[in-house]
Amino acid sequence: MALNKTILKKVGEKTKDDQRQQKFIMEILDAENKGLGQFKKLYKNRIKEAVGDGEEE
């Protein structure tokens, strides 16, 4: 089923000043909704993508 719109709205509100957080949470929620097996790999990859090589925000 599609992600709950209220959740998506709240994520948008709470992360309006941090696009990387917003993108990360949305992607993970979408993946969680579709079902995950080995979650750690996906989570770590998404965090790595969001944080990059450690450069300052």
């Binding site: 709950n4 957080q21 990360f24 949470i25 929620l29 770590k44």
Partner: protein
């Protein structure tokens, strides 16, 4: 999400039946009418079995039977077929695609049939192309995504469930329902998983605790050691070079003068040797003098020694002198009766001989005794006189040898003296010789030390290289550590956001749920003035209060509880925004005519935005319901049978 169709083959009372739920008009409501035993509830069971492998709505009599249609099984046995098969296919439309869930199960064609493992296949029909899924994990994910089993009772439910909904201890179930339908479970799962990922990162960070400070200190020490060794080697080389220069200087000066110090040394040793030999010669001369004095006396007495000795010998030969034996010795032998010479017992004869000898000794004169006593010294003196020539010869030879050696030494000394007198710079030569020896020693020692330091340097440099490598790794680790710290911070921030949303969602949902449930319930129930409000407490136990503030769920009728459950379900779907169909099996069995009207009206209203499939038995499907629902129903199906062996659909 809509249920498009259900196709059933050989499942329980169904042989081959196809339920089509296409929509017409603005109300997506579908009615299935059938007498008891026509398979209304088993339609729900067929869908549950297809999706979840379970049949939660079975009647007691059906629980003992196999899924395979009995007539089909008997036919297979009669026709001596090996197997027969049950098949249920559920087609839904969602997110601009159609998904067909198809489950098949074979049964051995015997009276008590063996069940083979079911086969579950899912086909996804989308504009981008079709996809067939056969692996369990993908299929389970798809089912979980669109029709999750743990909330299935909120879209597939029957009258029995409605009645039991709020009886007791349903708080956790309601909590889970809100949790899952509003998708707070996704937030919760994400929060838990983020915690695990953060824990992993923290473990990684702990293992990368670099110790760069300690390594830097070690590196500094290692560098100092290398530098110190290099200094030492340089110093040794310098010292060695200086010594070599000095040696060269000495060699240059000493060229052609190599033997001088040795000759000097030889000269000194020779001088000492001459002194020693002179002392030896003096001793030899003293010995000669002593020799001459001694033999002068001996030779002057020699004639008298010989005469006296001849006299003694003559008297001895004549037996005028006693034997030269100690009388006390003989007396001791007699006392001990033992021979003191051969250490054995003496016989009478031996003792008599000794007594006779003692008698002879006692009879001899003192002169005779004196003669016997001086005989030996006289013999010695005569013998010594005979040794004179030999002793004299030895003394002369000794004197000659020493004298000759002295002459040789003096001659050598003279030659050395002559040689050394040619060198006026003997002191300098000697000094340079000493210096050269000293510098040679210095050079040797420095070369040895240099080699030792070079070996130590090799080890120290290796150690430094290793420390540098460790330091490099530690610096890399520190870089990774910084990245990890950023990742932890990022994940923690995301987790906090998700947790906040989760809490807000639960609170919002809870609040909206109570209001919405109450609103729907008031529309369903004819007692518009009795109930005031609904509360969900901290444990999510639902309570309905009357106008006086008293809890009423326990006092509600079965019909009211069913209506309350339906209200709750509809509210939950509305509040959560969960897009699913609603399949209600025989919902109004216990509901009276007034409430049936309300019930039908509410469901008709709901069907504007949601597919509603309702099954009715003839007694439930009253005129009031018929009047409200039939004009707007998209499909109306009657389940019928001609000979009780096969069910078929008659649509209107």
């Amino acid at each position: 999400m809509r249920l498009e169709s259900v196709e059933i083959s050989n499942y329980r009372q169904y042989k081959d039946i196809f339920f089509d739920f296409c929509t017409k008009g603005s109300y997506d409501v579908h009615i299935i009418w059938g007498k008891n035993g026509m398979g209304k509830t088993n339609l729900l069971n067929a869908i549950s079995w297809c999706l979840y492998g379970k049949e939660p709505h079975l009647s007691i009599k059906d629980r003992a039977k196999k899924k395979i249609n009995t007539a089909v099984l008997m036919e297979a046995i009669d026709q001596k077929r090996d197997k027969c098969e049950t098949k249920v296919s559920v087609k839904i439309s969602v997110d601009n695609k159609q998904i067909i869930f198809e489950k098949r199960q074979e049964f051995k064609a015997v009276r008590d049939p063996f069940e083979y493992k079911p086969v579950f296949v899912v086909t996804v029909i989308a504009s981008t192309g079709n996809k067939v899924l056969t692996d369990t994990e993908s299929i389970e994910n798809l089912v979980r995504q669109y029709l999750p089993e743990d909330i299935s009772e909120y879209f597939f439910f029957d009258n029995e469930q409605l009645d039991k909904y709020f009886i007791s201890n349903q708080g956790e179930k309601i909590h889970q329902a809100i949790f899952n339908i509003s998708q707070v479970n996704l937030l919760h799962s994400m929060s838990d998983r983020l915690a695990k990922v953060i824990h992993d990162y923290q473990n990684d960070a702990g293992s990368k605790n670099t110790g760069i400070k300690e390594l830097n200190e070690k590196k500094k020490k290692a560098e100092n050691a290398v530098e110190s060794l290099k200094d030492n080697i340089s110093h040794c080389r310098q010292q060695s070079a200086q010594a070599e220069a000095e040696i060269t200087r000495c060699n240059e000066y000493l060229a052609g003068k190599e033997g001088v110090p040795e000759k000097e040394k030889e000269y000194q040793e020779l001088a000492a040797d001459i002194q020693s030999k002179e002392r030896e010669l003096d001793g030899c001369m003293d010995e000669c003098k002593q020799f001459l004095r001694e033999y002068k006396i001996l030779f002057s007495l020699y004639p008298r020694f010989r005469q006296t000795l001849e006299l003694i010998n003559s008297k001895e030969r004549d037996g005028q002198l006693p034997p030269n034996i100690d009388p006390q010795f003989l007396e001791k032998m007699l006392v001990s009766h033992k021979c003191m010479i051969c250490d054995r017992e003496m016989g009478d004869e031996e003792e008599k001989n000794i007594e006779r000898l003692l008698k002879q000794l006692n009879l001899s004169s003192s002169v005779s005794h004196l003669l016997v006593k001086i005989k030996s010294p006289l013999e010695d003196a005569v013998e010594k006189c005979k040794m004179y020539p030999e002793k004299k010869r030895k003394l002369i030879q000794q004197e000659l040898r020493i004298t000759k050696e002295l002459e040789v030494c003096r001659e050598k000394l003279n030659k050395l003296d002559v040689y050394l007198k040619n060198y006026q710079d003997k002191d300098k030569i000697r000094e340079l010789h000493e210096q050269r020896s000293k510098y040679t020693e210095i050079k040797k020692k420095n070369d040895e030390n240099r080699i030792k330091f070079e070996l130590q340097l090799s080890d120290a440099e290796k150690n430094l290289r290793e420390i540098n490598a460790q330091l490099q790794k530690a610096i890399e680790n520190q870089t990774e550590l910084k990245v990890l710290e950023k990742q932890i911070k990022f994940a923690q921030k995301a987790r906090t956001t998700v947790q906040e949303i989760e809490e807000e969602m639960m609170e919002d949902t809870k609040s909206k749920m109570t209001g919405e449930t109450m609103e729907i319930f008031q529309r369903l129930d004819w007692k518009t003035e009795t109930f005031s409000h609904i509360e969900l407490d901290d444990t999510y136990e639902l309570e309905l209060y009357d106008n006086y503030g008293y809890p009423m769920v326990g006092a509600c009728s079965a019909a009211e509880r069913a209506l309350l459950a339906l209200s709750f379900t509809l509210a939950l779907q509305k509040v959560s925004g969960y897009d699913s169909m609603l399949f209600i099996d025989t919902p109004v069995g216990r509901v009276d005519s007034d409430n049936r009207l309300n019930f039908a009206s509410v469901l008709k209203e709901v069907s504007k935005n949601k597919q509603v499939i309702i099954t009715f038995s003839p007694s439930e499907y009253s005129q009031e319901i018929r009047d409200i629902l039939e004009p707007c129903a998209s499909t109306y199906k009657e389940l019928k049978t001609t000979d009780e062996s096969e069910i078929y659909i008659e649509s209107r």
